[in-house]
Subunit: 134 residues, 2 copies
Amino acid sequence: MNSLGRHILAEFYECDPGMLNDTKAIERAMKGAAEVSGATIVQSVFHMFSPHGVSGVVVVAESHLAVHTWPEYGFAAVDYFTCGEVNAGAAIRYLEEEFGAERVTTREVERGALGPGGEGAGLLVGPESGEAES
Amino acid sequence: MNSLGRHILAEFYECDPGMLNDTKAIERAMKGAAEVSGATIVQSVFHMFSPHGVSGVVVVAESHLAVHTWPEYGFAAVDYFTCGEVNAGAAIRYLEEEFGAERVTTREVERGALGPGGEGAGLLVGPESGEAES
């Protein structure tokens, strides 16, 4: 596939609600995930919402890794945009452990398709849902 | 659809390469896009890559708006994750104008499906490709 980037969308269900409401712990986990995937961290922003929930983004040299948590549902949404040689799967498995997730689904989307067939040719979504054992 | 968030993935083709390589201009455009969509800006991070390209994220109270640019291809990838009442379409149209894009495709992905049918029920991708006139 001749595309400029890959975008991994991962849903973490039945997580530890306390973890999902702890901004510092989420920041540590997200930076750890960037590191285990082999990415280079450039900068990060994390934010606690009232009354609960954390949003955060780690900008990496290879693009970005973002998270939004809903502790009240035990749910976290992560997306990992990458345009380099990073191991996004390792990041997802690391976060599954850190979040205490019982169930994880992932989807991969090609971004910025170029080449034969026109720009739109590669814009279809990859596997609609992959499930990791918890 | 009973989901916690919506994730809009937008591809901007045949953009003004100079614009895509100007970190300050990209930051202004992204913050402007967040504003026209009715979102509340919390914090932002923008980063210029060597030799070219900009990555940036605006964290909004309703989640995040991220961009990665490839000036050498006239291409920019934007994603807008939202869990509130924002007008993501207005943001995309604003960026199309700002980037001088000749062609834009968008996809919408439901994030964090809950309720009847199990967590996976709503995880299918919405319209695979919508195209806006430039």
